[in-house]
């Protein structure tokens, strides 16, 4: 018999690994990627390819040649960032803009803070906001490229449902008149596919499928997504009840824009969300509230990215003051 291993308990480990969690997130994003590719064709393929490859290669190069530390790209976290970045951009974004986004996400937001687990802000969201303020024209060009599923005669181009509503409201129309003028703004349309918006926002149903997968695999708990979506629903519902001629309804608000993508895949990012359940609820409510306020009163038609970034900054405080319930506490 050879030498025995001596180490403290526990002597066994669950088969959970960082790589498995990240792989599950990629699998959960698969329906959204598929719908995006089917809807936007080659543009979406290029977007995803550039996003993933540039994030993974950048992380590899930075770890290997600048930081000279162990290369950890096979934990799949850079690939997740790449996919999320791609899905948060308009389908027609040129490749070099995606590449700049990857430099911001991996190079600045993730690696300068110390790599996986150390960053304060969500890399993909920060990159998206960086690109939005740096290239406002490109980042709001919502042209719908030719996809592989039928475009339908009323597919619109050039604007997202949220920007159509925002522009319409500015000209003095009521939401009802705007919806009548744009029959494609129906909820059925948004659930399945082909609405103007970021590549990952093509279908609410695909995102919800991914959400269910994450829950079944116990990768995330429903706390944050439910808090975000619930708050958007309730707050926009209150505004809608007060004045339905100026504000859009709650169902429209949760199905459009980045609410689902943000709530399910961005706000639940382990690294940049609170650790305790109570902290997660506060964080989710904060994101929902800020999203609705930016949408209804801000200059931008959409506010999910800003809301998540702002709440990211609050996470260290939430971790400090919102601690988990303790057994036998007096």
């Amino acid at each position: 018999m050879r030498n025995l291993i001596i180490s403290p308990s526990p002597h066994i480990h669950s088969d959970l690994t960082t790589r498995r969690l990240m792989r599950d997130v990629l699998i959960a994003l698969f329906p959204a990627m598929l719908v995006s590719i089917l809807s936007y064709g080659f543009s979406a393929v290029r977007l995803l390819m550039v996003g993933v490859l540039s994030c993974v290669i950048l992380e590899y190069l930075i770890q290997k040649f600048i930081l000279k530390t162990a290369v950890t790209v096979n934990d799949c976290s850079a690939a997740v960032t790449g996919v999320l970045l791609a899905l948060n951009l308009p389908p027609c974004t040129p490749w070099w803009v995606v590449f700049i986004g990857s430099i911001v996400a991996i190079g600045i937001v993730k690696m300068t803070f110390g790599g996986l687990g150390q960053n304060i802000f969500n890399p993909a969201i920060t990159a998206r906001v960086f690109l939005l303020v740096s290239f406002p024209v490109i980042m709001t060009d919502w042209t719908i490229p030719q996809g592989w599923i039928s475009a339908g005669t009323d597919a619109f181009s050039g604007a997202t449902p949220l920007s159509i509503v925002k522009e319409g409201l500015k000209t003095g129309l009521t939401p009802e008149q705007i919806f009548t003028a744009h029959p494609s703004l129906s909820c059925g349309q948004m659930l399945f596919a082909r609405i103007g918006g970021s590549a990952g926002e093509a279908s609410a149903l695909a995102l919800i499928l991914g959400f269910i997968y994450l829950l079944v695999r116990k990768v995330i708990k429903p706390t944050i997504p439910v808090a975000v979506i619930g708050t958007v629903f309730v707050v926009s519902g209150i505004f809608y009840l007060i004045d339905s001629s100026s504000f859009t309804g709650p169902v429209f608000n949760i199905l459009t824009g980045g609410v689902l993508l943000g709530a399910i895949f961005m706000a639940t990012d382990y690294v940049t969300s609170p650790m305790s359940c109570s902290g997660q609820i506060v964080y989710g409510i904060g994101i929902g509230l800020l999203t609705v306020l930016i949408r209804f009163f801000g200059a931008y038609p959409e506010g999910v990215s800003f809301a998540i970034l702002i709440m990211n900054a609050v996470v260290p405080l939430l971790n400090k003051y919102m601690r988990p319930a303790r057994f036998g506490a007096k």
Partner: protein, 444 residues
């Protein structure tokens, strides 16, 4: 519906491969090494010398303090020497070494297999007998049972809980005795109830042991004061605080004792020891040891005399396989790795588990991804990720403020961590240091 504890916990695979192995009586060793430290507290003081003749069940060491217990000879023969012997971790512990000659028992021990149902002793007599027979908690902590039966002044027990959870993977010794000797365990339970003067007892058993539940229920039906409670399988259900929570819904306060909630917990094997001590006058000289692991050709549940060297047990179980990488005394979650195979068994040894390298080797640590899974797993509601960081930085004040002393060292955090961070290694060390600092403060 099955009950369970509210907070945290993990679900390791069962691996109860020795479930169907009936308890076999292991041959008496040729030489027994009987440790003086088989209980929590001060080691017992030997009262025999080299050359003395001893019988099975004869008292060979007496308590050396309040927190201590009697030790009896588990074999008959001649005392070879009284000297320190290395325990499973290689630490030298004062022991009585006895060369075995025959198997001659003390005459006052009832060796028949008849079940004695009438409890004739009074509560005080029971406590005295339990103390006399050296009964200690067999769940793992080896707390002297007679002390647990005398709650501190002003505290009164309301319930007794018998711990039949056996939530550790692989272990089956409690399962086997609940299957094979249910009536004796229940009489032991009634004896404990009488000593504690309580009217209600619960036997908590996890739902992965339906046969044990059926076996215990078939006898408990004649005792309305004893209720078998089916628990939903979750580790660490057998932790005292978790079991009390699962069965009664009460929470033992931080830094408090079970008696603060009016509950006393005893292990099923301890209840059996109490039965044997009180009804049969048999001290703790043997116990059930599960020898198991996937790499063994056959697993066993042995009735082993205290002081039998691990080597002999492993030899009689088919030898240590070539691919064995770690031998654990106890279960895989809380057991201790054995470095010295010559070490002898003690009263509370419940298992020898043999794991291969693949099953037990620790994977390299990577960055914390702040997933919070350690928080979800912690049954005490602590923040293991944070305690680990504070422990590595040596920030004792903050460790205390974050209640590191509440840690029960169950290992759920390390078991679940996707980054393989050795959370408990650091927390355990810091906990010891923080408790030492807290104790060294002048009392107000």
């Amino acid at each position: 519906m099955s009950k369970t504890f509210k907070m945290g916990g993990v679900h390791p695979n069962d691996h109860k491969i020795s479930n169907d192995c009936a308890v076999e009586v292991m041959p008496v060793p040729s030489r027994a090494y009987i440790s003086m430290s088989q209980h929590l507290g001060a080691p017992a003081t030997p009262i025999v010398q080299k050359g003395d003749k001893v019988k099975v069940g004869q008292l060979i060491a007496t308590p050396s303090g309040f927190m201590s217990a009697n030790v009896h000879s588990s074999v008959s023969g001649t005392v070879f020497s009284v000297e320190p012997v290395a325990d499973l971790a290689g630490n030298k512990v004062m022991s009585v070494i006895i060369d075995v000659e025959g198997d001659e028992w003390m005459e006052n021990i009832d060796r028949s297999s008849d079940i004695v149902r009438d409890i004739k002793m009074t509560g005080e007599e029971i406590v005295a007998r339990v103390k006399e027979c050296g009964v200690v908690g067999l769940g793992g902590a080896s707390f002297p049972t007679h002390i647990k039966l005398c709650p501190p002044p002003g505290k009164k027990a309301e319930f007794l809980i018998i711990n039949g959870a056996e939530c550790e993977p692989y272990l089956t010794s409690d399962y086997r005795i609940m299957l094979e000797r249910p009536e004796e365990i229940l009489i032991g339970t009634r004896i404990l109830m009488k000593a504690l003067d309580v009217n209600k007892a619960f036997v908590g058993i996890e739902d992965n042991k339906p046969e044990a539940i059926a076996s215990m229920k078939s006898f408990s039906s004649q005792y309305p004061e004893i209720e078998v409670v089916v628990l939903k399988k979750k580790y660490p259900q057998g932790g005292e605080k978790q079991l009390i929570d699962a069965v009664t819904g009460r929470s033992v306060p931080s830094m408090g004792l079970p008696i603060d909630t009016g509950v006393v917990v005893q292990n099923a094997a301890t209840a059996l020891s109490v039965y044997e001590a009180v009804q049969k006058n048999k001290p703790v000289i043997d116990n059930t040891v599960t020898v198991t692991g996937e790499c063994l050709a056959k697993s066993h549940n042995w009735l082993v005399r205290v002081g039998t060297p691990y080597e002999e047990i492993l030899q009689l179980s088919g030898g240590v396989p070539e691919n064995a990488a770690k031998i654990i005394s106890g279960g895989p979650m809380m057991g201790k790795a054995v470095s010295n195979l010559k070490a002898p068994t003690v009263k509370a040894n419940g298992a020898l588990l043999i794991l291969t390298e693949e099953q037990t080797v620790r994977k390299p640590e990577s960055n914390c991804i702040r997933c919070g899974k350690c928080i979800d797993a912690c049954p005490m509601g602590l923040e293991p990720y944070l305690l680990n960081k504070l422990a590595r930085a040596g920030r004792m004040d903050e460790l205390e403020a974050h209640n590191v002393y509440d840690c029960i060292e169950c290992g759920c955090c390390l078991f679940t961590c996707p980054a393989n961070i050795p959370l408990l290694d650091y927390i355990r060390g810091a906990k010891g240091e923080v408790i030492r600092i807290m104790r060294s403060r002048p009392k107000k």
